[in-house]
């Protein structure tokens, strides 16, 4: 396995690649290309860089959006629709901010470069947003909300997994409804990473109503953990390992506050 940890987009993007039939050098070059793509996306969509296209767009300085900007705007609208407004890049302080979507989308683009180059076993982890090439499977640990050095579960991932929470960067989630945030941590597994990323944020914000939306999406599962440490999951959610004491007294809890 070849690994790479690339600081970009305010976080670190980790690669885990099996070169397969390629030479290590060829696989390394593909990772170079994938990293270049991540930096391009960062240049264009950083909210911290005043001259990024996104910053200029937010100031109203962009007359005609680039094709990538148009794609992100389209994905943002789609995300808002499919989460019924629980993910809303327009509701954030400071104006339109698709950051919660761009990271997962960028990781997908990086993974696509690896696939086009001939790799068949690869994982890209963009600061917790993980996607893997079709046909490969990886066990991914889900960080415990109470302890960054511990896991609350391990999930076998064959497409994508994303987690959103309030614990790593402080309270950075905003509820478009104006109420409280439902979960300290929310994870979505399956489908494309851009959608998993968006739904993880929506699930952390909305809790049960968003879990219900996930129930209706084929091939997508998820769970969220409330501040009191209760885990609620979709009916098809499975763990390779889980740090729960299901079956003991107290395993049945009252409904979450909705």
């Amino acid at each position: 396995m070849i690994t790479r940890a690339e600081p970009v987009m305010g976080t670190v993007v980790s690669f885990l690649v099996d070169p397969g039939t390629l030479s290590d050098a060829a696989a390394d070059r593909l990772i170079d290309d994938a990293c270049a793509e991540l930096h391009d996306v960062d240049e264009r969509f950083s909210t911290w860089k005043p001259e990024s296209e996104l910053s200029r767009w937010r100031r109203g300085d962009v007359a005609v959006p680039s094709s990538l900007m148009s794609e992100v705007l389209g994905l943002s609208h789609a995300a808002q629709r499919m989460t019924k407004g629980f993910f809303d890049p327009w509701s954030l302080p400071g104006g339109f901010d698709p950051t919660g979507l761009v990271k997962g989308w960028a990781a997908e683009r990086a993974l696509a470069i690896l696939a086009r180059g001939g790799l068949s076993t690869a994982l890209v982890n963009a600061g917790g947003d993980v996607c893997v090439l079709p046909g490969s499977a990886f066990d991914v640990g889900v960080q415990h909300p109470d302890d960054p050095d511990a896991l609350c579960g391990v999930v076998r991932v064959t497409s994508a997994i994303a987690t959103s929470g309030v614990y790593a960067r402080g309270d950075h989630l905003v509820n478009p409804l104006g109420g409280d945030i439902a979960a300290v941590s929310a994870t979505v597994v399956g489908g494309r990473l851009t959608d998993a990323d968006v739904f993880a944020t929506a699930l952390a914000v909305g809790g049960a109503p968003v879990l219900y939306l996930l129930e209706q999406r084929r091939g997508v599962e998820g769970f969220f953990i409330t501040p009191d440490g209760t885990l609620y999951q979709t009916s098809g959610m499975t763990f390779a390992h889980a740090a729960t004491n299901e079956g003991e007294s107290g395993a049945r809890r009252s409904s979450p506050t909705l």
């Binding site: 917790g128 990886f138 896991l151 219900y212 440490g229 889980a242 729960t244 809890r253």
Partner: protein, 193 residues
């Protein structure tokens, strides 16, 4: 105004049904019925056959604003958005706070299976600039169903990463500074040969 409504009908169709459009000047204008593009309420909900259809019967439409009291005629049994419950909806404020001088429209209260919701769309310069959840009710039966899957996660006996074989870590996004101390950082070193 007419143009804005048409645009909403075209762009927001499938998301919500537009019932009324309020001007930005605060005067709640006359109710405009849904544009043709947003009709066919029977298909607007992705989960019309869910158990949620039994709940709207208790609704008290009187509490909702004019914007959500739809003139649609369908029966409760079909779970059309028009019949769903606005009972706990927050009142719709007419022409409320458009973010950038646009027009605001509140969609019909829609049954989406888990409960009901309506959405507020703000349009400025022919673009949707804001979509907000305007009202939301939830379904008791799903809450009960959900509770059956609820499990407390252990606070004391968490899975220690060193004892578990994993390839990557998902969690709330770590900063590039915090990465150095993260499990992912350890994994990246571990995998490197």
């Amino acid at each position: 105004m007419k143009r804005a409504l048409t645009l909403l009908g075209a762009t927001a169709a499938g998301f919500t049904s537009i019932v009324a459009l309020h001007g930005t000047n605060g005067s709640s204008g006359p109710l405009l019925n849904a544009s043709p593009a947003t009709s066919s309420p029977a298909t607007s909900s992705p989960a019309t056959s869910s158990p949620a259809t039994s709940s709207p019967a208790t609704s008290s439409p009187a509490t909702s604003s004019p914007a959500t009291s739809s003139p649609a005629t369908s029966s409760p049994a079909t779970s059309s958005p028009a019949t769903s419950s606005p009972a706990t909806s927050s009142p719709v404020t007419s022409g409320s706070s458009p973010t950038s001088g646009g027009a605001t429209a509140v969609g019909q209260t829609e049954n989406y299976g888990y409960g009901t919701m309506s959405v507020k769309v703000t349009v400025a310069q022919n673009h949707i600039v804001n979509v907000k959840v305007n009202s939301l009710t939830t379904l008791e039966s799903y809450s009960q169903q959900l509770a059956q899957y609820a499990v407390p996660i252990l606070k004391a006996e968490v899975l220690k990463a060193q004892g578990t074989r994993i390839s990557a870590l998902t969690g709330a996004t770590y900063t590039s500074e915090a990465y150095a101390y993260s499990i992912q950082s350890a994994l990246d070193k571990l995998h490197f040969k």
